[in-house]
């Protein structure tokens, strides 16, 4: 897929609880085809503290409105600056990057999308894409507490939503992998994105139950286009760049201890 460098305009930037924001961008030029699971490289500014671009997963893409949504957790100087952007300001992106989630061949499959915290971001676009293509995805979203569960109403537009929080402030208390849904029903395909320990737990569950499973990784990177070789993941084929061979991998490709 051809990649573009272009300036996007901030349409809305909404704070969510204390630590997150939803950034809606509108394309000035072309709006290239965008697949669920792909990401963008965001240029923050020219300051010495935010030298490299920031890789951010695509939360939602709307071709008709030429909109791209990014769900951002304020954790460092770069994400803080992004959270302070005002409508009308420009943001330079390299887009679209990476290979996305795979889409099953047959429609009657039970697809479960498991997200942890802000890591659930790419699953919204995946869910919307699956629904639009005739699937019925369900979402299992987990977080530390209620204020870290993001966009659950938005997810609800595309399928059933099951919730878990570590402190029990919303949904079932505990990790997503302990959710009763997993005891009651066995999905045909799992997609997971979130903190590494969560994805590892989901991968272990998937391996035990013999359910195919894809995970989306977020190794630190510099270029995003396969040139710097910094974002490598150890796979059964050796070290590969997650920016070009991923960020989505089938757990069978990885060398995780599952």
């Amino acid at each position: 897929m051809k990649k573009y460098i272009s300036d996007w305009t901030v349409k809305e930037n909404t704070s969510i609880h204390a630590h997150y924001c939803l950034l809606k961008l509108v394309s000035g030029e072309t709006f290239p085809e965008t697949l669920p699971g792909q990401f963008v490289q965001v240029r923050v500014d020219d300051s010495s503290a935010t030298f490299l671009r920031r890789p951010i997963s695509i939360h939602f893409a709307n071709t008709a409105d030429r909109e791209l949504w990014l769900l951002i957790q304020r954790i460092g100087k770069g994400t803080r600056k992004l959270s302070e952007l005002k409508p009308g300001q420009k943001l330079n992106l390299i887009h679209p990057l990476g290979k996305g989630f795979s889409i099953p061949d047959t429609k009657n499959k039970r697809l479960l999308l498991i997200g942890g915290g802000v890591g659930a971001a790419p699953l919204l676009y995946l869910g919307a894409y699956l629904k639009e293509n005739g699937f019925q995805p369900a979402f299992l979203l987990g977080a530390r507490s209620e204020k870290d569960l993001l966009q659950s109403e938005e997810f609800g537009k595309y399928g059933d939503v099951y919730l878990a929080t570590e402190d029990g402030s919303r949904g079932e208390k505990g990790f997503v992998t302990a959710h009763s849904l997993l005891q009651r029903e066995k999905a045909d395909f799992l997609y997971a994105c979130g903190p590494k320990p969560m994805m590892l737990a989901v991968a272990k569950y998937a391996a035990q139950q013999a359910i195919p499973c894809e995970v989306s990784l977020e190794n630190s990177m510099a270029c995003g286009i396969g040139a710097c070789l910094c974002c490598v993941e150890k796979t059964k084929k050796g070290n590969v760049c997650i920016c070009t061979e991923g960020p989505v991998f089938n757990i069978n490709q990885l060398t995780w201890p599952i």
Partner: protein, 304 residues
């Protein structure tokens, strides 16, 4: 339009802008963003005789105005380059230069000989300065004797233009440059990365899997510029300057300091089109200031 042509040994460049090894892949990674024929050349990723997996993740740390890397020469080896990469890039309308690295003299020579047989590769950049491998690499580039030994052996084996990439992690880089010039190098390129490190204070451990890594980006530019200045006054062969160039102004500084050509490295990650813009910027600068050729600008610094 000024004359931007530059010759380095038998290598002819349409303009003095090259992209640095390890920052521009094989050029194809950047083809969506810019026309590769607009730059003087692409120096492809470090290639070794045998495939290398490189170092463990994490390999990168962002630092103020720069980054540390510890890739460790990950590449699929020279035979894979010849069979799978070369056919894809041989007809690109610019100079494709291969950066050759190794752990032993024999490996350097064997790898360089294989590259030497490729018709559309006009030059080799010999990497005696990689800080991220346990054996070889920088070990050859930090003493005059080591640098001389490897350049002498490779010079005997290849007739193509030979550029030797020097390490800044030395007491006197000009002495190393003189040593490789004496063994028949056609040019020296400098600087490779500066050894550095970063620590994650929350986890109280090094950020990089290798503890130390190579620092690059705008933060190293003043050091690189000083070394290019000192080296260009010590040798007769052309010096290729690199280290933190992020725009045409930086490139003009390096040329004024004595560089015949320049390379752009880390900034390709921030702006994948920067190399094209630098070439255009140098041309406009020459026109504005009445220079007819970029050659007139090399070392043309007024004394302070």
């Amino acid at each position: 339009m000024a004359n931007l042509n530059i010759d380095i040994g038998k290598l002819h460049l349409k303009n003095p802008v090259l992209t640095a090894s390890g920052t521009f892949g094989y050029g194809t990674e950047y083809a969506d963003f810019m026309d590769l024929s607009r730059i003087g050349g692409v120096i492809v990723k470090g290639t070794t005789l045998h495939p290398r997996e490189g170092n463990d993740y994490p390999r990168m740390a962002e630092t103020p105005s720069g980054m540390l890397n510890a890739v460790g020469l990950q590449n699929k080896g020279v035979d894979f380059f010849i069979s799978d990469i070369y056919p894809q890039i041989r007809d690109v309308d610019t100079n494709i230069i291969v950066n050759v690295s190794g752990s032993t003299i024999e490996d350097y020579v064997a790898c360089a000989e294989k590259i030497g047989e490729l018709e559309k590769i006009p030059a080799i950049e010999l990497n005696i300065s990689c800080p991220n491998v346990k054996q070889g690499g920088m070990a050859f580039g930090t003493t005059c004797a080591g640098a001389s030994e490897v350049v002498k052996a490779v010079r005997k084996a290849v007739r193509k233009t030979l550029i030797v990439k020097l390490s800044p992690n030395v007491t006197d880089i000009a002495e190393i440059a003189k040593a490789v010039e004496a063994e028949g190098a056609d040019s020296v390129s400098l600087i490779n990365t500066l050894m550095g490190m970063a620590i994650n204070i929350e986890m109280r451990r090094p950020v990089l899997s290798t503890v130390t890594g190579g620092l690059s980006g705008p933060c190293v530019k003043p050091v690189a510029l000083r070394m290019v200045y000192q080296t260009s006054r010590a040798v007769k062969i052309p010096v290729i300057g690199l280290g933190g160039i992020s725009g045409w102004q930086d490139a003009v500084e390096f040329i004024l300091a004595g560089a015949t050509a320049i390379q752009i490295g880390t900034y390709n990650f921030i702006d994948p089109t920067v190399s094209r813009k630098v070439g255009e910027g140098i041309n406009a600068y020459l026109d504005r200031n009445g220079f007819r050729s970029v050659g007139e600008l090399v070392g043309a610094m007024e004394r302070g």
